[in-house]
């Protein structure tokens, strides 16, 4: 098991290196940071732009590979360079990472847990009305792009607030600016702000997990070992949960890393739409600003979280399935 983990970590390290290289290459060739400076009024002279670009490590007179070498020299020491405005990418990263992780972790956890439960319920009641309604809801959710879901939630909240004449659901940013008061009030304010973004990430995850879990559970429902368990004289409920659900959870671990990918993409839209200053919003703004170093930093964050979730999925798999532990 330990050997397996260390090999797995090694593979992850290789993938991270390739990811860093490719994302730098991609960002450096596709984005044109020069445009950002040229757009200034008055337009600075070309030599000054070159100097400014060189100051943030994007000297266009150097070949891309050399620039990458400089960048990676700093990156190994934990310095992700300067943003196009001249600020430290590290500082910005530090400000934003917590915001994103809060959304990602909460959305994934809620979506996964509720999705598994919904899927199991749906499978046990296959083709009944409850299964059919759940299926329909899941289909509509899965067919709605996350950005649209977020927009619909936002518009719904807006309409509700206008209709009631009060700010029932706040949805801009992660807290009401300048809020003060007791811990409870602050906490409640944060929770209300979390509601819609978490829903728009979590609902899609919930819908897809409910479908995975439903089909995994249906496979297991026909398994011989459930019949054996029942033939021993166990109650139906015990058979379904102890033998059925427990085994049907195993394939879920494989979908976990897949699912996280969706959450990550979804979070990008969600942050932008709800004005959360997280990594996703940073990513979209940076592309629009042609901010190469920031884009690379977000890419590394994305790669890192996806790989971590993959590792977590492996550990989960091993925890759930003794065959893997010994393999």
């Amino acid at each position: 098991m330990l050997g397996y983990l260390s090999r797995r970590l090694g593979y992850i390290a290789i993938l991270m290196l390739v990811a860093a290289f490719l994302s730098y290459l991609l960002a450096a060739t596709a984005l044109s940071p020069r445009v950002y400076f040229e757009a200034r009024q008055p337009r600075p002279p070309a030599a000054q732009i070159d100097a400014q670009l060189a100051a943030i490590g994007l000297d266009p007179r150097e070949p891309v590979l050399v620039r990458f070498a400089h960048w990676s020299e700093h990156a190994v020491r934990g310095d992700l360079g300067r943003s196009i405005r001249g600020g430290s990418v590290n500082d910005e990263f530090g400000r934003r990472v917590g915001v994103s992780l809060r959304l990602l972790v909460l959305g994934t956890a809620l979506g996964t847990a509720l999705g598994v439960l919904a899927g199991m319920w749906s499978a046990v009641r296959q083709y009944r009305l409850s299964d059919r309604s759940l299926t329909l809801i899941a289909f509509v959710l899965l067919s709605t792009p996350t950005f649209l879901l977020a927009l619909l939630l936002k518009i719904g909240a807006l309409a509700l607030n206008q209709h009631s004449g009060r700010q029932l659901i706040s949805f801009t940013g992660e807290k009401t600016p300048g809020i003060d008061g007791s811990f409870g009030a602050v906490f409640a304010d944060r929770a209300v702000h979390l509601l819609l973004p978490t829903l728009s990430i979590g609902l899609a995850t919930l819908a897809s997990y409910s479908r995975y879990q439903r089909s995994a559970m249906l496979d297991v429902l026909g398994a011989d070992y459930l019949r054996t368990a029942e033939a021993k004289g166990l109650s139906r409920r015990r058979v379904l949960i102890k033998h059925g659900l427990r085994t049907a959870l195993i394939p879920m671990s494989t979908f976990f890393s897949f699912g996280f990918l969706g959450v990550l993409t979804g979070a990008t839209f969600t942050e932008k739409i709800f004005g959360w200053h997280g990594m996703g919003e940073w990513f979209i703004d940076s592309i629009n600003n042609n901010d190469v170093n920031a884009v690379v930093a977000v890419n590394l964050f994305a790669a890192g979280t996806v790989l971590l979730s993959g590792l977590l999925a492996d550990l989960l798999h091993a925890a759930l399935d003794p065959r893997v532990r010994r393999g």
């Binding site: 991609l26 984005l31 899965l142 792009p145 649209l148 054996t228 004289g233 033998h243 969706g262 003794p322």
Partner: protein, 998 residues
């Protein structure tokens, strides 16, 4: 997006792997009946109509600006209103829809084609190409397509939406390609693909003819879902300005346009938003419907969910004295799309305390359903009527409380397939302890202790340690012992054993039957033993019930039933069975036709296959009558009893022996010192080498023209590896293979090798798996001829010839494999092999998957073909009775070595090797008188794996002879590897072959 398609892909891949022939009409019919899919299809068609006919419906173009109408609500002049700069929302939405659909369709189509080609090639050839694909997919998973396309998008602005299509397609095929690769790898293991490879069909032809069509069902579903996914990705990108660029519009840009004023001017936002969701939902519904339509099991599930379960108790008559099981007039029917299917049609069974009842019958006769009904384990949708009383309590209609109280405590069951019968994630000991805890008020520790005791009782060594093992760490025999331990955990009054030894080797089967006997004696329970094997029944049963088409058609004490069967079906079963004693000349009795599909019968269900059927048999189903201590459902039983008719008489098989032909002198195959080793790996994801397996370790084989050599041994002895080494036609690792005088070494020219391909043909065990379900019988038979480049007219002329040769009609060439029964399919496989008149026919367990009555027909056919065409047969089997029925010579294999070889009569008549003796004595004989008096040599332990290569004799560890030897004699076995000694009639590899064991 990625999320949705990944989910649906996983399901679709699963479905595609299970799907049989994707018969177009059947699928289309199912699709038409699928309400969701039809609704989806109608919506998709309507939206396409709107997208492409829409521009002609209104005189506004999408770019026209009506300065008089800014943000105007829907009105007759602007149906869906106008936007902030006075553009017509209808015209804009229609234009956006058009663009989004075009992009979605093109991306899905090109991605699917790419995925199919790359996936199939990577999966089929493997190697570097495959590794690059896998790495690329891993990379893509860290960089979601959305991220990459967003970054590249500034460079795209000039390229427009065509460049966007290209990018989307590039980033959306990889995951599907990985699925196609996985499918291809599993297809490569499928026998019909291997058959094509062994026939010499070229790799690209194999991919095009066999692999891609088999992945088609997956690809169709995949492409459908991909359309929705592509539309979702495109709109997301366009919403953020990374996709379609203004002034061009797509649904994404329109939604972005409408967002700021969505509450005040909802029409600008909601028309494109709703169309987007409706379209994707509709496409996904179609995809879902397609999957259901292609998955053959889904229809019955739905029918099942709609049916109302019915449980009716009838005739709960008085219980027979001391009966633990009393089944009266049991009827079971399952709902289906074509109405209820009767599976049991009036079964009466009584089992007394301590009695062993054997239930015998072919597949589909209703044996297992009877067992499940007894436990109340039939699915809810089954209609059950009659009466089942277990120790006086009624099972039919009993509530869950009663059932859980009885199950495991009064009545327990031993299932057939012991690997899938244990929950894979719990330890064996835990699962047994669970049975104890379910019925006894004891604590966990006590239950665990009891589990260990039970494991010891059923003969598992080191039970404390073994209780900690997981099911897959046990061998098949050990699991079956654990299953028995679980069944007797609560001292039941009745044990049901449903084919408890069917998947096991004969030596292990003998052990398990002994354990069952012990278990039954220890608990004093009655035993119902269900088996298709008359030998097993003869060994164990006090009374026997023969089932056919959902009824008991004959029952009597075991002695009477085997000595004097009265129902023609029973006579057929007994006559069809090859036995060790009777050699190659006795014709076996094949029962013509096939068991009827479950339905209601007006006449006797056996009438169509019965040589003694009269007109009256077809008008009324015969009652069960008592005839000479038998209960038998046959009008002519009395007559059969009076004339004491034998199977051969009933079936009109002449007494004259079959011609077997005499072997010629020409050598067809000569194998010397053949060695094949495998590297042994552990680990599922990261493999590491842990040792070397000597699967075949220096064996000799010699077959002459017109001769049948049987290679027998237990699973894992290396017989299949030997076959593969010969069929590869490549130089072996060590030793030599000479085929028709050509030595298979590096000097063999490719042209000669190609010619040799046609001289060796293969028949697999499972005829369903070895015939491509998507080809017609004619195309299947033509495959080896085409691989040999025979001309089309010659091929067309040959097909009817070989079909007649194997007893089928020339007209059958137009049909598909699934239209035939198992026996007929095996005839097709034989016809395919014979089409190129091979000098050597390799038969890999060709009758193991068939029912006894069908097996007899195939064995007779093989004997006839050999007499007429004089091919040589290399016949691999584990069934010694079949060997004695067909083989001239036999080689017995153990752990990669031949331990005894010679003329079949000599080896089976006077076996000299202790392993041969043990094998022969483990074979059950369908004669209770013989079975009860035989002295049996029980081998200990399981057939070993070839992972270790011990010094000296490798049978030593299980050898009953070695156990009784004195020191110096033992030393010989330990130090020296015995060589084959003897004369041409019989050679034996044992130092102490002469010593008597019993």
């Amino acid at each position: 997006m990625a999320d949705l398609s990944a989910e649906l892909l996983a399901e679709a891949a699963d479905t595609a792997a299970r799907a049989p022939a994707g018969r177009f009409r059947v699928v289309a019919g199912r699709l038409l009946r699928h309400r969701g899919a039809m609704a989806g299809l109608i919506v998709v068609v309507a939206l396409f109509g709107l997208a492409f006919a829409g521009p002609y419906l209104t005189h506004w173009s999408y770019s026209d600006i009506d300065y008089t109408a800014l943000r105007m609500p829907p009105s007759p002049s602007h149906w869906w209103g106008t936007n902030g700069i006075g553009q017509d929302v209808f015209a804009q939405t229609v234009r956006g829809l058009q663009k989004s659909l075009l992009i979605g369709l093109t991306v899905a189509a090109s991605a699917t084609v790419l995925a199919a080609l790359v996936g199939a090639v990577a999966g089929y050839f493997g190697g570097r190409f495959e590794r690059i694909l896998l790495f690329a997919v891993d990379l893509l998973l860290i960089f979601p397509a959305f991220l990459i396309i967003s970054i590249i998008s500034p460079r795209l602005r000039g390229g427009g939406w065509v460049a966007l299509i290209g990018l989307l397609a590039i980033f959306s095929w990889m995951i599907s390609a990985r699925v196609v690769r996985t499918l291809t790898i599993s297809l490569k293991e499928r026998q019909f693909v291997q058959a094509a490879q062994f026939m010499g069909v070229r790799p690209l032809t194999v991919i095009v003819r066999h692999i891609l069509p088999s992945t088609a069902s997956f690809l169709i579903i995949d492409a459908t879902i991909a359309v929705g996914g592509a539309v979702m990705t495109e709109t997301s990108l366009s919403y953020f300005g990374f996709g379609v660029q203004l002034p061009d519009v797509s649904l994404g840009t329109l939604i972005a346009d409408g967002t700021p004023s969505a509450v005040t001017y909802p029409w600008i936002f909601f028309f494109p938003a709703v169309l987007l969701v409706v379209f994707v939902v509709a496409v996904n519904l179609v995809g879902d419907g397609l999957r259901d339509a292609i998955d053959p099991t889904s229809g019955s599930n739905r029918a099942a969910a709609r049916a109302k379960p019915r449980r009716t108790v009838t005739t709960p008559g008085p219980l027979t004295d001391d009966a633990v099981l009393d089944i009266r007039d049991l009827h079971v029917a399952f709902p289906s799309a074509d109405g209820p299917v009767p599976v049991l049609r009036g079964v009466d069974v009584t089992v007394r305390r301590g009695e062993v009842l054997g239930i015998v019958g072919e597949s589909g006769s209703g044996k297992s359903v009877t067992a499940l009904a007894t436990l109340g384990l039939l699915p809810a949708e089954a209609t059950v009527t009659g009466s089942i009383s277990v120790t006086g309590e009624q099972i039919i209609g009993a509530g869950p409380r009663t059932l859980t109280r009885l199950r495991g405590a009064r009545v327990a069951i031993v299932f057939q397939d012991s690997l899938s019968a244990f929950t894979p994630v719990y330890r064996i000991g835990e699962q047994i302890a669970e049975a104890v805890l379910a019925h006894r008020d004891v604590d966990r520790a006590t239950a665990r202790k009891r589990a260990v005791e039970l494991l010891a009782l059923v003969g598992i060594p080191d039970p404390e340690i073994r209780a900690q093992a997981f099911p897959e760490e046990f061998s098949g025999g050990m699991r079956q012992r654990a299953m028995i331990a679980m069944a007797i955990a609560n001292d039941p009054d009745l044990i049901l054993a449903d084919e408890p030894t069917t998947a096991l080797d004969v030596t292990v089967q003998a052990q398990i039957l002994d354990v069952l006997r012990t278990a039954q004696r220890e608990t004093g329970a009655a035993l119902v033993l269900i088996s298709h094997d008359l030998g097993v029944i003869a060994r164990m049963a006090d009374r026997v019930a023969v089932m056919y088409a959902g009824r008991v058609v004959e029952s009597a004490t075991a002695a009477q039933l085997f000595a004097r069967p009265l129902m023609p079906y029973t006579l057929g079963l007994i006559g069809a069975l090859p036995t060790l004693g009777d050699g190659r000349h006795r014709p076996l009795v094949p029962i013509p036709g096939r068991p009827p599909a479950p339905r209601d019968h007006t006449g006797c269900p056996f009438a169509d296959r019965c040589p003694m059927a009269e007109a009256a048999c077809r008008t009324a189903e015969p009652e069960l009558l008592r005839v000479h201590d038998h209960t038998v459902a046959c009008r002519r039983a009395e007559e059969i009893a009076d004339k004491a008719m034998t199977p051969a008489e009933v079936y009109g098989i002449g007494a004259q022996p079959l011609p077997t032909g005499t072997p010629g002198d020409a050598t067809v195959l000569d194998v010397r010192g053949l060695v094949k080793t495998f590297a042994q790996h552990r680990g599922k994801i990261f493999k590491r080498r842990t040792g070397t397996v000597y699967a075949v370790d220096g064996i000799d084989l010699h077959i002459r023209r017109g001769e049948t050599l049987a290679l027998v041994g237990e699973s894992g002895c290396g017989k299949s590896t030997t076959l593969h080494e010969i069929l590869r036609l490549a130089p072996p690792q060590a030793g030599t293979i000479e085929l028709l005088g050509h030595r298979l070494d590096s000097t063999l020219r490719p042209a000669d090798r190609a010619a040799l391909r046609g001289d060796v043909q293969l028949v697999f065990q499972d005829p369903m798996a070895s015939l491509d379900p998507r080809l017609t019988v004619g195309d299947i038979i033509a495959e080896p001829m085409r691989a040999r480049r025979m001309g089309t007219p010659a091929v067309a002329a040959r097909i009817p010839e070989v079909l007649r040769l194997v007893g089928l009609e020339p007209a059958h060439a137009q049909r598909f494999p699934h239209e035939f029964s198992g026996g007929q399919r095996q005839r097709i496989a034989i016809a395919r092999a014979l089409s190129v008149e091979p000098a050597l026919l390799v038969l890999d367990e060709p009758v193991s998957a068939l029912d006894v009555s069908v097996q007899a027909g195939i064995l007779n056919l093989l004997r006839e073909v050999k007499a007429r065409l004089q091919p040589a047969y290399l016949f691999v089997t584990h069934d010694l009775a079949v060997v004695s029925a067909i083989a001239d010579r036999v080689s017995v294999m153990y752990l990669g070595r031949i331990v005894e070889t010679g003329d079949t009569g000599a080896v089976f008549g006077t076996p000299r090797h202790p392993y041969t003796k043990a094998l022969l004595s483990a074979v059950p004989v369908p004669d209770p008188a013989v079975e009860r008096t035989r002295e049996r040599i029980l081998l200990i332990g399981d057939p070993p794996s070839a992972g270790s290569r011990p010094t000296g004799c490798r049978f030593r560890a299980r050898c009953p002879l070695y156990a009784g030897l004195s020191g110096p004699d033992r030393k010989l076995c330990e130090d020296r590897d015995p060589a084959l000694t003897g004369d041409n009639r019989q050679r034996t590899a044992c130092h102490h072959a002469g010593v008597s064991m019993i």
